[in-house]
Symmetry: C2
Subunit: 442 residues, 2 copies
């Protein structure tokens, strides 16, 4: 590379070493990095999130038994990753790090294959230096965790059974290749059998604190559940959330998401929430209290699709677009049917209400697309230009119908406008969706 | 510059020479480049449009009488422009070009100060080579124009009185500094008194045809009117126009725009169109035919603000945003009042209709901002997060009110929701508008 400085303003590591040689005895001898949490292999998540931070090369140190599985995993996802085989996985994991010494130079990330990290954690940790430690771990069993005693911003002692400690080892490190001088020493002293903790203590690594964010390790089947919950709870976007969302809906929806995140897709949840909302609107014709309660249930369910999508690393702007259109239809239908059923007017009132909804939705369905994609749907979908129902046409039609002012003319007008606008809005959403080809992950 | 290739992929000229030394005798001795057409000096338009195409330096050749005026013009707009003074403006304008010889090198644009160009014309012409000629001039008096006879893609003859000709000279040239060898020759032969046409013919310039686009020259007060009309007619965006807009509304609105473009601002026209629309909605309570006709009038007026903004080079995304919000309110109010007045229900129906409108507008007012600016209003305006009336809050409120299902509860709910949503939508538009600081021109 001629101008490395042009490439990244911040000097982020370009390589990550992943230690995945351990024999997952408590997990039925499956490679822990390939365990699915929230629909994705642990390593898939780590690699994708590190790639977003600029890491380009991945070195996975594993053992002979898991080699084929990891190779298949790498190929299936098209990752740029190399395998390094540790023929003695029963020895301490310090040796695994040592085996990677020929493949890296300069700064690199070192990360454990059985640790699940949230996006916010990786965002902060990748900018750190040395051992990344957490003084307020929220998602790990501290009694089982590796603790760190820090002195002058460096590791003084590290281990599971420290009596006095400052923070917990997150399994995430930002190192440079000087570390291999330390492993070289230990190789000689310990005949290749030493732990990463011994390396860390000997090197007196600097410590960067990243406190209270989402990360955990997975050693037992119970811990998979905890990791899944962590991912969902830390996946709440929340930027547009109101008071009820923050204090009630999210508390319930994240529990539902944690239960379902391994079983359903975001789109399935969007459909369920929409169906519940429309059902609640229809229910206004029979029982207002039940309708209101179901409407609130649909509002809670409405959060689940987004939470699942973020936890599964499957967010899509098209999903957000469709969700937003459907929300407007649920709200519009609920209010229209509520007014119709309570105020006991003729059916034409309902049609008038739905016409008003359709009129705004014609514009909403194109503008919301622009909002999601920063692209003009009229340029992308030329068919939209020939689709009838644009504002100038609707207004002209309205004028024509009102020139002879009889009630049946106005009623016909409403019926025509309702059909015209709702068909146009639906076709718009359909046509623009077809123009979007999004990768399954961001 | 180390890597000129990095700067522009297409080799567009970086300098433009503007001939502005002619004494505008038919225009009351005013410098023609400073005449305002559609609210902007002719040269303001030329310079701004050329800047958008990558031209960075401007050389204005003028005379001693106009020097101070042009200097003030350059300073007022902060243009990067230099003045070259022609002490003998009564001589032919070939000499004016010759005087610029020390200031340019390589490729440059040569353009007349009394020619008004549309954006589409400059877009195409700046990519041309030699003399830019028009085989289908739409906005000039051909009998007065300078004609060109072309042979083998080069100028064979040029002049006002050619009997046989192929195209009209647009006053726009893309030259290189080799042209000064020709002016040098003519300086010697003609003692400095020769026209640009003589230079063009002698040089046998290559010809690029740019046909049928908007450009014209201004020699008399009548021609200012023609130029204004040209700018408005060629300023129609039209990408979202429907059938009625294309075949009726635009024909009328551009005439109105041509009349008003020197007198009103786009914002004033937005206000007039909005007021007309709301008036038409109120008129549904008294006369449906009149209401319908006024609604259609408002639809025509709705095109004027955009046309004027484009003709005045004053388009703003904020203007588009506000316009779009107001359109939804006009349409919503019209339909709501039409339903209320025709279907003869109680006032509560009207409130229900307006509640439905407000509900959608809460979302529309933020999403339409995102669509216009590709920026998330929730990030830009933190106040939005604390403003009540978000969807989760409205749904929760709805559930609470419906738990005790009496008609007055539903009516109160509608009233509260109507107030909440419309206030929130209006505040959203107000707050996000405050975050946008747009230059007066693009």
């Amino acid at each position: 590379m001629l101008f490395p400085g042009l490439k990244k303003v911040m000097a982020m590591p370009e390589t990550a070493v992943i230690l995945a040689a351990g024999l997952g005895t408590r997990m039925g001898n499956r490679p822990k990095g390939l365990i699915r949490v929230a629909g994705r292999e642990i390593l898939y998540r780590t690699i994708v999130l590190l790639k977003r931070k600029g890491v380009e090369r991945f070195i996975i140190v594993t053992n002979e038994h898991y080699e084929a599985l990891y190779r298949e995993f790498i190929e299936r996802h098209g990752f740029t990753a190399e395998l390094v085989i540790n023929p003695e996985p029963e020895k301490g994991n310090g040796h695994s790090l040592h085996l990677a010494r020929g493949t890296v130079s300069g700064k690199f990330v070192l990360v454990m294959s059985d640790h699940v990290y949230s996006e916010a954690f990786i965002e902060r940790a990748a900018k750190g230096n040395g051992l990344i430690a957490d003084r307020r771990p929220r998602w790990v069993d501290v009694s089982e965790a590796t603790k760190v005693k820090v002195r002058n911003n460096r590791v003084e002692r590290i281990g599971k059974n420290l009596r006095k400690w400052d923070a917990v080892d997150t399994g995430f490190f930002v190192l440079d290749d000087g570390i291999f001088n330390v492993t070289e020493e230990l190789e000689r002293e310990k005949k290749g059998d030493y732990s990463l903790s011994e390396v860390v203590e000997r090197a007196k690594l600097p410590v960067t604190f990243v406190d209270g964010l989402g990360w955990t390790d997975v050693d037992t089947p119970e811990e998979i559940k905890r990791a899944r919950r962590m991912l969902v709870k830390t996946a709440v976007k929340g930027i547009g959330d109101g008071f009820v969302s923050r204090h009630l809906n999210r508390k319930i929806s994240t529990e539902i998401s944690a239960l379902l995140v391994d079983r359903v897709t975001p789109n399935q949840m969007t459909a369920v929430a929409f169906a519940t909302g429309i059902l609640s609107a229809l229910l206004t014709l029979f029982s207002l209290p039940l309708a209101g309660i179901l409407y609130q249930v649909s509002s809670i369910l409405d959060g689940v699709d987004g939470e699942i999508a973020r936890a599964q690393l499957r967010t899509s702007r098209l999903g957000g677009y469709i969700d937003s259109i459907l929300d407007r239809y649920v709200d519009g239908s609920f209010l229209a049917l509520l007014a119709y059923s309570t105020l006991e007017g003729p059916l034409w009132y309902l049609i008038a209400l739905l016409t008003l909804l359709g009129t705004v939705m014609v514009s909403y369905s194109t503008e919301r697309f622009k909002a999601a994609f920063c692209r003009d749907p009229h340029r992308e979908v030329p068919e939209l230009r020939n689709l009838p129902g644009k504002r100038d046409e609707r207004i002209f039609l309205t004028m024509l119908f009102l020139l002879y002012p009889a009630e049946y003319m106005v009623k016909s007008l409403f019926l025509i406008l309702a059909l015209l606008t709702h068909i146009r809005a639906a076709l718009t959403a359909y046509l623009v969706s077809g123009k979007v080809s999004e990768p399954k992950t961001i």
